[in-house]
C-alpha cells in the first residue's frame, strides 16, 4: 500500500518536473510581454509581474508591426495555394496511373531527397537565379522558392488522401461520360476536401515559420516576414524583451489556432516537416 503511494507520488513529481521544464519558457514569454521594463531589465527579475501593462503591444501597433504580419500572411497563403493546386494534380496522377519505368517511384524519391537536403545548400544558386530573373527581394520570388519545401510535402500528404478515394466513384463518373479533368474537379476534389484543408494548414505553418530563405532573399525591411523581423529585433535591441515577446505571441497565435485544428494529423504532418 505504502509502496503504491510512493510510486504514485514519484510519478506526480516526475510529471511536475517535465511540465515545468516545458511550460516555464512559455510562461516567461507571456508574462514578460505584460511586464513593465523595471520587472525584467534588472539583475533581480520578477517571477510574477508586479504590474500588468499593455505598453509593449501598443508599441507594436505604433511601430506598424502588422506590416510583417501582412507580409507573412501573403507569402504563406500564396505559396500554399500554388503548392496545393500543383500538388493535388501531381498526387492524383501518381496515385491513379501507371507510369513507364517506375517514373513514379523515382519522382517520390526525388521529392524525399529534396525534402531532406539542407536549404542552405540550394541558397547560392537560387540567389543567382532570382537575381537574373529580377525576383530577388520580392514576395513573388520567395513564394516560388518556398515550393522547395511545400510542394514535395503537399504531394506526399495528398497522395495518402487521394488513395483513400474509392476508384468506383471515378469509374461511375467516367461511365456517365465525364472527361478526366471534369472527374478530377467535380468528383475527386470534393472528396479530398478535408485532406486539402489539413495539408494547407501544415503548408501555412511551414512557410509561416520559414527563416533562412526569407533571410537571404528579402532585403528591404518593409518586405520582411515575421521570423526575419524577430531575428533582427533579437540581434539589434539587446533587451527590449517586452516588445520582443509581444511580437512572438502575435506571430505564434495564428499557428496555435491552426495546429489545434489539425491535431489529428499532427504526427503525419510533422514527420514530413523537416526544416
Amino acid at each position: 500500500m505504502l509502496s503504491k503511494l510512493a510510486r504514485r507520488l514519484g510519478f506526480c513529481v516526475l510529471l511536475l518536473l517535465v511540465m515545468t521544464f516545458v511550460l516555464f519558457p512559455i510562461y516567461w514569454m507571456i508574462t514578460t510581454s505584460l511586464k513593465v521594463p523595471l520587472d525584467y531589465a534588472t539583475r533581480d527579475p520578477a517571477w510574477f509581474p508586479t504590474r500588468l501593462t499593455g505598453e509593449h503591444y501598443l508599441s507594436l501597433w505604433r511601430g506598424r508591426a502588422y506590416r510583417y504580419l501582412g507580409n507573412t500572411v501573403l507569402v504563406a497563403m500564396s505559396a500554399t495555394a500554388l503548392s496545393l493546386s500543383v500538388g493535388l494534380m501531381a498526387a492524383y496522377a501518381l496515385a491513379r496511373f501507371r507510369f513507364p519505368a517506375k517514373l513514379d517511384v523515382l519522382f517520390l524519391l526525388w521529392v524525399l531527397l529534396v525534402r531532406m537536403a539542407p536549404p542552405v545548400v540550394m541558397a547560392i544558386p537560387l540567389y543567382t537565379t532570382l537575381r537574373t530573373l529580377g525576383l530577388l527581394n520580392t514576395h513573388l520570388g520567395l513564394m516560388v522558392v518556398y515550393q522547395i519545401y511545400v510542394l514535395p510535402y503537399a504531394i506526399w500528404m495528398l497522395l495518402g488522401f487521394v488513395r483513400e478515394v474509392p476508384i468506383e466513384v471515378e469509374e461511375a463518373a467516367a461511365i456517365d461520360g465525364a472527361s478526366k479533368w471534369k472527374t478530377l474537379r467535380a468528383v475527386v476534389l470534393p472528396l479530398v476536401g478535408p485532406g486539402l484543408v489539413a495539408t494547407a494548414i501544415f503548408s501555412v505553418i511551414m512557410t509561416w515559420n520559414e527563416f533562412i530563405y526569407a533571410l537571404l532573399f528579402l532585403r528591404t525591411p518593409d518586405r520582411f516576414t515575421l521570423p526575419i523581423h524577430i531575428a533582427n529585433f533579437i540581434t539589434e535591441y539587446e533587451i527590449l524583451w517586452g516588445e520582443l515577446m509581444a511580437i512572438g505571441i502575435m506571430s505564434s497565435l495564428p499557428i496555435l489556432f491552426l495546429s489545434g485544428y489539425v491535431q489529428r494529423h499532427l504526427l503525419k504532418g510533422f514527420a514530413m516537416q523537416l526544416k
Binding site: V86, A90, F107, W208, L226
Partner: protein, 324 residues
C-alpha cells in the same frame, strides 16, 4: 523543310483518335507542372552548385575563374570549416540522442492513463508549434548573463545549496553566474538545450504512436508467463518499437544536421568558432564574404553527407509504402 519518313508512317498507321490528346496524356499533363517546378528549383540549382564549386567566384569582383579542386583543398584547411564540421556532428548527435531518449521517457510516462492526461498532452507539444525565432527570443532572454532568469535562479539557489553543504561540513560556494552563450566550452550545449526543448515533443509524438500500436494483450500474456517490468520492456516494448525509434532518430538527426537558425539568432557562430556549423559556414562565406566558390564547395560536401543519411530514411519509407 523535310520531314522524317517515319513521321508519315506514324501519321498513317495511327487509328483515328477517339479521345483528344489531352485526355490520352492526362496523367503526364497533371504531373508536368510539379515536375517543372521541382526541376527548376532543385535540379538546376544542384547542377549549378556543383559547377560553381570548381570556380573562384566573388561576384562583387567579377567573373568566375576555373580553379579545379582548389576550393575543396582550401576548405579542408580552413579551421572554421573543420570546426563547423565537428560542431555539426556534436550538435546533431547530442541533440538527437537526448531528444529521442527524453521522448521515449515521456512517451512511456504518457502511455499510461491518468487524470489530466488529455489536458497535459497538447501542452506538452506546445514548444514545437512555436516558430524557431520565437523560441530563440525566449531562450536568449532567459540565458542573458545579467538579466536572465536562469542566472538569477542559480544565484537565489546558492544559499540553499550552501545550507546543505554546511550540514556536511563543507565550505560554502560563491554565488555563480554562467555565461551560457559566451563561454566557448558551453555555448554549443546551450544551443543543444534549446533544440531539445523545442523538438523533444516531436520524438515524443512518434514514439507515443509507436507505443499505442503495440497490442496490450502481448503484455498480459507475458505477465501470465511471469515476466516482470524490465523484461517486458526489453523483450516486448523495444523490439516492437524499433521502427518508430528508427524513424525518430533519423528524422531528428537529419533535422539537427541542418542547424542554422538557432546559431544565427543565439550566438552568431561565436564565441570564436565555438558554435560554427556547416550551414552557418556556408551562409557566411556565401552571403557575407560573397565567396561563392568556396561556399559552393562546402555545400557539395554537406549535401553528400546528408544524402548518406537520407538514403537510409528513403529506403525505410519506400519499404513501408510498398508493404501497404
Amino acid at each position: 523543310m523535310r520531314c522524317h519518313p517515319l513521321f508519315f508512317k506514324l501519321m498513317r498507321s495511327k487509328p483515328a483518335p477517339k479521345r483528344p490528346w489531352h485526355e490520352r496524356h492526362f496523367n503526364l499533363l497533371l504531373l508536368l507542372p510539379a515536375l517543372l517546378i521541382i526541376a527548376f528549383l532543385t535540379i538546376y540549382p544542384l547542377v549549378n552548385v556543383v559547377r560553381l564549386s570548381f570556380y573562384e567566384y566573388n561576384y562583387l569582383r567579377g567573373t568566375p575563374k576555373f580553379v579545379g579542386v582548389e576550393n575543396y583543398v582550401r576548405l579542408f584547411r580552413d579551421r572554421f570549416f573543420l570546426d563547423g564540421l565537428r560542431n555539426t556532428f556534436y550538435f546533431s548527435i547530442a541533440a538527437t540522442v537526448a531528444e529521442v531518449g527524453l521522448g521515449l521517457f515521456l512517451a512511456i510516462l504518457f502511455h499510461r492513463r491518468f487524470r489530466g492526461r488529455r489536458l497535459l498532452l497538447p501542452l506538452l507539444i506546445f514548444p514545437m508549434m512555436l516558430s524557431t525565432m520565437v523560441v530563440c527570443s525566449i531562450w536568449r532572454s532567459m540565458y542573458h548573463f545579467d538579466y536572465g532568469i536562469l542566472n538569477h535562479l542559480l544565484e537565489s539557489l546558492t544559499p540553499a545549496v550552501n545550507w546543505v553543504l554546511g550540514l556536511f561540513g563543507r565550505s560554502p560556494l560563491e554565488p555563480i553566474r554562467i555565461r551560457w552563450l559566451f563561454d566557448p566550452d558551453l555555448a554549443l550545449w546551450s544551443v543543444v538545450l534549446v533544440d531539445i526543448w523545442q523538438w523533444t515533443p516531436m520524438a515524443f509524438l512518434i514514439l507515443l504512436a509507436g507505443l499505442q500500436s503495440i497490442p496490450r494483450e502481448l503484455y498480459e500474456a507475458a505477465k501470465v508467463d511471469g515476466a516482470s517490468g524490465p523484461a517486458l520492456f526489453r523483450r516486448i516494448t523495444l523490439p516492437l518499437l524499433r521502427n518508430h525509434l528508427f524513424l525518430a532518430l533519423l528524422l531528428r538527426s537529419i533535422d539537427t544536421f541542418k542547424i542554422f537558425d538557432k546559431v544565427y539568432a543565439l550566438t552568431g557562430g561565436g564565441p570564436g568558432s565555438a558554435t560554427e556549423t556547416i550551414s552557418f559556414y556556408i551562409y557566411r562565406e556565401g552571403f557575407k564574404y560573397f565567396n561563392m566558390g568556396r561556399a559552393s564547395a562546402a555545400s557539395v560536401v554537406m549535401f553528400l553527407a546528408v544524402t548518406g543519411v537520407s538514403a537510409l530514411y528513403i529506403r525505410q519509407v519506400l519499404g513501408r509504402t510498398s508493404a501497404q
